[in-house]
Amino acid sequence: MANVLTLKTVKLDQVTPRWWHRLGGIRTAIFYVVMVAISAFSLFPLVWMAGTSLKTAEEANRSQLNIIPEEAQWDNYTHLIEDSNFQRAYLNSVFVTTMVLIGTTVSVSLVAFAFSRLEWKGRNVVFALMLGTLMIPDQMTMVPQYVLFFKLGWLRSFNPITLPGFFAGGAALIFLLRQFMMTIPKEIDEAAMMDGANPIQTWWYIIMPLCRPAIATISIFLFVGNWNSLFRPIVYLKQAELTTMPIYVSLLNNNQESPIPWQNIMAASVLFVLPVLVTFILSQRFFVEGITLTGSKG
């Protein structure tokens, strides 16, 4: 403990200032003021977004600090919801996210099962290989994958976005789920095997129900990641019929209207952010656990 040893030499006149201890209750107050200030900093883009979405075009482009609109313009939302482009983009997003969610969750849980509950020759080699792929950034495989999908004729479809997930995409997710499955006692599936269940039955009837919290965590990660995802969709979903919400929202900004219709952009943004926000608030416990477990950004 070299660090502690060096502290022994500290002179006595360098102790904590007494005034700080004397502050007592005020100290707590200062603490909360700081916390609230940081919270305000964290939240204000969101609040500003919501406020602007209810303003008129003129008010949204005015230079002022009013967060709350003079008169709430709910029309901004009704117009948007009636817009067929918006509907299509929203449904596309829901569709794509659902497909990825189902495909990835199922395949990831299969693979995690193989890595944790089954004993087989070569498991360690394959597992090490999988951990090795954690190091490979997306950028390396993205270019040839594009050529692959081009050759398959999939550039004008959802396939490049949804189908790779079915191949247990995401080594970090496999790892997370595997770590969770390792904590389940061995006796449980041994008993099932005794009763004549094959591994598929063990996986579906015994292990999967026990893994609900971990599966919830990876589903949330997948949901947020895919709902927000812009890079891959913008590469593959160039056609209007395939547009997802991130593309729709980001393109709203680029039309040449003047003044920029910020109130409409912000209304679309609010509707876009809402599912993620609700998911996050309802499940923030899973988030925190998942991140400290894998160190990934979700």
Binding site: L7, M49, L65, S107, M142, P246, V249, V273, K297
Partner: protein, 655 residues
């Protein structure tokens, strides 16, 4: 949901599931066969079958989406493949263009690397400070802490999507945007805040203008060239000037001479010492330097070092001789050749001396005489070329800021003071060497003079650094005149100028996102806002620091600051290092922010490696170059990750 594309996708998904099921079954069979080959029992074979079957989705995905593409992309990177066109092997051409920054796209890639360096140097530390600060605030058991943690983390989730980035873009409007209006209100509320606000704006503006000038060397941003060598001089001479003079300092001075000298010679050599019509004064200077190093080494009684210097210097001279002769078609009397040849021979002569016998006191005298002669030659050659036309006076004026004060919008004096277009900074590197050499020579007998001399040198470099830094600022303040005078359009400060007219310096506001100077700070602010992921990592690390350590420190009367630096920071250093590496990697991979926040004007200053990849591959379909760029990126990322693994071992505290 009835949409043709979605239905199609569902069919393909069903097909994929069937495909995965079949391949997994086949993989299972293969695994079973392999285990059988190695002579394991029936049970083991069955286990291998089931194991491989379950891992099948990942294994097949690995081959289709990772291993295969990796190999293919390595192949593409050596070709000029463009989607829909035939492939042609071009060897290392793509890598050469990207790494050397050739042409428009090579330049953009280089720009992306410079931008990442900016984030690594400025953005990531700020992000670390924010996230660590938030984590330390959260690391206590009080009411409502979970709610605060949720709120602090929220931006991370939102920042991943385009919606909130658009909101930021909206709030960043220079004229009447939320950020600027609230900052203005804050500044107006109390006169001291106003000063703070303006100083921050001034510093951010200057630093970024400075950085842009550093990153984009081709631009007519003259003054910056001198800042780097001046800072280097400060950095190298400072430790020599301050504190007690010790034996080790002389050795350090010798190292400075050797290393800088080698670099200088290398640079000059690469520019073609003989082939280019460079002033032969450099050859004499080179000889002088080599002789000087030999004398200093003799003083330090390092005999093998003398031999090394001698041989290296003679090899250089021999090579220059050959190059000179080759340039003159091996006719020593042709054109300028005699001038160079004489210089080379004169410089070589003293270098030959130590070949004869051992080094004696007489050798030293001989060498000192050579130094004197070479010095006189250089002086004679330099005076007419360099010091006429009041150049000394000009240098004096530059050092005393007179030129800047008298002619605020004219930087011609810079061209006059430091005349060589490409190698004028060599003067500074040369003077660092000179200072170190004189300091080492003044070693024993003249301690007082040495101190005065080193202080003077330090002040000289400090003045150059400060003055050229201020010049930079004046430069982008008035870029239009200067760019025009230089005959080069300067797009980097284009929009800046537009706003600068509207907001003169005494009521300057941040011009977020509108120009290259303010685009990067905007991005840094957004990453600071969304630094919650790092915060959670820090929080987990902080929770792992044993309370007993703090208690022991408190018993010993340690203050809060001491506890932080002596206990907290060492204990969480693995998390710290992890966050730094992740931050740098993330800056290379930034895409959404550039896509949403960048405009045509600021795209080049926000360009990240990932965005370059996107443009090159997916917009222009240049698969070959895109693959090469992705491989460079991968090498950097894997290198950083490997470094993280290595360092996380020894960064950890010694328990």
């Amino acid at each position: 949901m009835a949409n043709q594309y979605r239905l199609e996708n569902i069919f393909w998904a069903l097909g994929t599931v069937a495909f995965i099921a079949i391949t997994s079954y086949l993989i299972g069979l293969v695994a079973k066969f392999l285990v059988k080959l190695r002579g394991f029992s029936e049970t083991e074979q069955r286990k291998a079958f089931w194991g491989a079957l379950f891992a099948g989705p990942w294994i097949s995905g690995f081959f289709i989406f990772v291993a295969g593409p990796t190999l293919v992309s390595l192949y593409y990177s050596f070709t000029d493949y463009k989607l829909g066109k035939p492939i042609e092997w071009i060897g290392l051409e793509n890598y050469r263009v990207l790494l050397k920054g050739e042409g428009t796209y090579g330049g953009r890639f280089k720009g992306a690397m410079f931008n990442s360096f900016y984030y690594a140097a400025i953005g990531v530390p700020l992000q670390i400070v924010t996230s660590l600060g938030m984590a330390m605030l959260l690391n206590r058991e009080v009411k409502g802490i979970r709610l605060f943690r949720t709120i602090f983390y929220l931006p991370v989730i939102l920042a991943g999507g385009p919606a909130v980035l658009l909101a930021w873009r909206y709030m960043f409007a220079t004229n009447g945007g939320f950020v600027n209006v609230s900052l203005q209100r804050f500044a107006d509320s109390f006169f001291l805040f106003d000063y703070i606000y303006r100083s921050v704006v001034y510093v951010v503006e200057s630093l970024n203008g400075f950085y842009i000038g550093m990153a984009v060397r081709d631009d007519p941003i003259g003054p910056l060239k001198y800042t780097f060598p001046a800072l280097l001089g400060l950095f190298l001479i400072g430790p020599l000037a301050f504190g007690e003079w010790e034996e080790s300092k002389r050795n350090r001075a010798l190292r400075i001479i050797e290393i800088l000298g080698a670099i200088l010679v290398g640079v000059l050599f690469s520019k073609g010492l003989a082939a280019n019509p460079i002033n032969p004064v450099w050859t004499y200077a080179f000889g002088l330097m080599a002789v000087g190093i030999m004398i200093l080494n003799a003083r330090a009684e390092k005999w093998s070092a003398i031999r090394t210097t001698q041989i290296i210097a003679l090899v250089f001279i021999a090579a220059s001789l050959v190059m000179t002769l080759k340039a003159a078609d091996f006719n020593p009397t042709k054109g300028d050749a005699p001038k160079y040849l004489i210089a080379l021979i004169v410089a070589a002569l003293p270098l030959m001396v130590p070949f004869f016998g051992t080094w004696t006191a007489f050798t030293t005298k001989l060498m000192l005489a050579a130094v004197g002669i070479l010095g006189v030659i250089i002086f004679v050659l330099l005076i007419p070329g360099q010091l006429d036309g009041g150049r000394l006076e000009l240098i004096f004026r530059y050092l005393t800021f007179q030129s800047a004060i008298e002619q605020p919008n004219n930087m011609d004096y810079l061209e006059e003071v430091f005349p060589f277009e490409t190698i004028s900074t060599m003067w500074f590197y040369g003077s660092i060497i000179l200072v170190a050499a004189i300091a080492a020579l003044l070693h024993e007998r003249y301690p007082k003079q040495r101190k005065v001399f080193l202080y003077a040198a330090f002040i000289f470099f400090a003045l150059i650094a400060l003055n050229s830094f201020l010049d930079t600022r004046r430069y982008f303040q008035d870029f239009a005149n200067i760019a025009e005078a230089n005959g080069k359009p300067n797009y980097h400060f284009a929009r800046f100028h537009e706003f600068a007219d509207e907001y003169p310096e005494n009521r300057r506001v941040p011009f977020w996102l509108t120009n290259d100077i303010w685009s990067k700070p905007s991005l840094v602010l957004i990453t600071m806002w969304s630094s919650g992921a790092g915060m959670l990592i820090f929080l987990a690390a902080l929770k792992g620091v044993p309370r007993s350590l703090y208690e022991a420190a408190e018993v010993d009367g340690a203050s809060g600051v001491q506890k932080f630096f002596k206990i907290t920071l060492p204990m969480i250093s693995p998390a710290l290092f992890y966050n730094i590496v992740i931050g740098v990697i993330a800056s290379l991979q930034t895409f959404e922010m550039v896509f949403i926040i960048g405009t045509t004007e600021t795209e080049s200053s926000l360009m990240s490696a990932a965005f370059f990849l996107y443009q090159r591959t997916f917009q222009q379909l240049e698969i070959g170059q895109g693959s090469a760029a992705s491989w460079i990126l991968v090498v950097i990322i894997v290198g950083l990750t490997a470094m993280q693994f290595r360092f996380s071992k020894w960064v950890h505290y010694e328990a």
